[in-house]
Symmetry: C2
Subunit: 189 residues, 2 copies
């Protein structure tokens, strides 16, 4: 367990797309997922499910879809370690029936905060990650590869490994440019 400050983890987190070939132990993955479970979620229904993929053939099947979609991107997919060579892919999914009766359908707001806990905890342990969603355009194929029921969802796939590039900082808009007071468009300052 790392004692890295929240503030440092947040300010040095960045997308890591290049990984060393070294394996990532189960103990690290378990710390990441345990942290993810602590995130807020609607009615404490905890709908997120995690699939930890190290099998090279599965990674290659998912990577093929990801690469093909990247080639179609008008703004150019970033360079990266090919998915078969990424040590671990973590798929974050939901499957109907994990919510209690009477609850509204699973919202991404009950899944994505958990993903951010996962990524921040990875960062604090020196592990690189990148949040990907591009595969959603071919989600049915992805679900089949991962053995998910047809009514399930794969929200995010997170390539995970020891980083071959450096962490942060990132470039972001200043607060006053994206913040309004009382109503949208009323300047903060």
């Amino acid at each position: 367990m790392s004692d890295m400050a929240l503030n440092e983890a947040i300010h040095t987190q960045r997308a890591i797309r290049h990984f060393k070939p070294d394996p990532v132990d189960d103990a690290i993955i378990e710390q990441m997922i345990e942290a993810a479970t602590r995130a807020p979620n609607g009615g404490n229904q905890q709908p997120a499910r995690y699939i930890v993929i190290r099998d090279r053939d599965t990674k290659a099947q998912l990577g093929k879809i990801f690469d093909e979609l990247g080639q179609a991107m008008s703004y150019g997919a970033p360079d990266r370690t090919p998915w078969p060579d990424v040590p671990v892919l973590i798929a974050i999914c939901t499957v109907p029936g994990t919510e209690g009766a009477g609850h509204p359908p699973t919202s991404e707001a009950s899944v994505l905060p958990a993903v951010q806990n996962l990524l921040l905890t990875a960062r604090s342990l020196g592990i690189g990650t990148v949040l990907t969603t591009r595969f959603r355009q071919r989600e049915d194929e992805v679900k089949q590869i991962l053995g998910l029921p047809a009514n399930g969802h794969v929200h995010v796939i997170v390539p995970t490994g020891w980083p071959a590039r450096r962490f942060g900082p990132t470039t972001r808009k200043p607060v006053e440019e994206i913040t309004s007071r009382e109503r949208f468009g009323t300047p903060w300052n």
Copy 2:
């Protein structure tokens, strides 16, 4: 700025729905939003926009919608400080046109990780928050109250204030119960 460890922030974050009447200064809100900007988002398009609401009449209008929807919930809305008495509501929104040309439409995966950074940073500063989405069932009215264009979205509203109840811990499922190896349903252990 707090030096709280990431691990402590994650493990003591919980929904805070009861607030003291004390005001929350702009400097604290700015720290929370600045941390939010650091979260991953697709193509670094940074689509999230923040509206910081302290006006009692606006809080009352939003609270009325929230309360009415709560009364319709089959599993019972939790007890809480009425929204007009909550010091600050932070609405996290997106508006088309904040993305660059050729980018896919804004995904919640480019908004919710920022929200989690906001909540964790609040926790580290001793500020209580709760992530709400229930208002989405009447999003058109909410957008009108907040002056958002019709094609914008309000993803989350976060009641924010000094807590009148204690932080964490939370009750969550164990990792092995929600994690599969290689394919969905294959036990972790």
